[in-house]
Each structure stands twice: as C-alpha cells, then as structure tokens.
Symmetry: C2
Subunit: 131 residues, 2 copies
Amino acid sequence: MSSERTSILAANAAFYSAIAKGDYRAMELLWARLRPVACIHPGWSAITGRNQVMASWRTILTRPPAIKCSDPKVFPLGEAAMVLCREIIGQTVLAATNIFVREAETWKLIHHQAGPTPEVAEEAPPRQRMH
Amino acid sequence: MSSERTSILAANAAFYSAIAKGDYRAMELLWARLRPVACIHPGWSAITGRNQVMASWRTILTRPPAIKCSDPKVFPLGEAAMVLCREIIGQTVLAATNIFVREAETWKLIHHQAGPTPEVAEEAPPRQRMH
C-alpha cells in the first residue's frame, strides 16, 4: 500500500479512536483549521463551521459510543482524500463518508457524514465461562 | 461567485434535475468514468463501483422522487469539490454530501451520501381555489 494511503487510513483510525475514547483534545487536533469544516451526524441536519462542529463533538464525547471502524476504503483526490467505512456500534452498522485534506503535511478532517444501514453486526462471541 | 463555484453548483443542480426527471441517461453522464465511484443512498449500505452505482440509480429512476435541492454549499478541494445541501422530498428533508472531481474539464460525481434529518419542509401554500 502506498504511504499516502497508509497515512490517510491512520488519520481515519485516529478519528474513530478519539470517538471511542471520548478524547475531545485528540478530536480537536484531527479537524482542519485552515479550511471550512462540516459534519452530518446520523439523523442530524448538517453542521457547518469549526466552532459548531467541535461543539457537537464535545457533546457526543461526554458519553462516547463504543464505536469500531470496519472496511475502510480510501479514495485519493489529490490534496484531498475520501474514506468510506462501516461504523459498528453494538449491532448497529452505519455507513460513513470521511473527507480529509492535507494541512501542514498531515491529513485533517473537513467533513464527516454517517447514516443508518439495514445491516446487523454480528456480536462478538461470548467469552467462555469458567465453571 | 467564481466560475469554478458556478460550474460545481451547475453540476450539483444537474444531478438533482436528473433524479427529479428520472433521466437515467443524464445521470450516467454525470458520474465519473476515470475514477472509482461510490454511493450511500438513505438507509442503504455503501455501494461501490460504477456498474453497481449506476444499477442503483436505474432502479431509483424508474420511480423518480419529486426531489428538490436547497441551500447548496460548495467546498472547493483542488481537483475535487464537495457540495453539501438539503434534499427536499415532500415534507422530508435529507442532508446530503456530494463529491465531484474534474474530469475532462467537467465536474463529475464520484460519491453521494444522503441521510435523514429531523427537519420538516414547509409545504408550498395551496393554490387559491376559484369558487
């Protein structure tokens, strides 16, 4: 895999890690500062502007969902990049679009949209009980 | 407004016109041929690949929804561009992300995601009845 794809995937993974950990500081660092940003959370209207987008994350990250990213696919677009992936929260599967731009040699988010799918995630097998 | 923004908005408007008219031929011309494409219809899982994406539009356009695009916002990204907009179908309001790339001097779609919002569109006022 190219180093570009590797670094885009790393930025995408860091995004989901920040959500799962409820790490607002990490989330703030992941979003672009030099370009307009936007976000469409599942079932929400679009939010535009860095202050509004970060305020939405501050709210969400007070009760961080146990989210996992699966099947990320990278679409390089020059100075930008798109990643499509599944978001798995319990048995719920969301379909997500994440848009990144290169800012100071780092891939930063400028947009995230996630929405419901009819898919049902398989639950992890229960741990074997010790009797 | 820059001519770049104007041409991106024109491509976005043509996309919604093709949906509303059920014009599959126009839709086919609007999607990129030289790059991988994807689509996340409301409530669907992600579809990837031109054949699969176009097959989904062929199905949808057999019964075209009376869709209107409202409040499009352009985010130029170099050789790519993002447009966020509202999609209004009756009283339903969806939030959409459309990603375009420049291909042979024309802006072509490489991705579309739309999802539900809690907004309720105002219905057009009823025409005055003639008694």
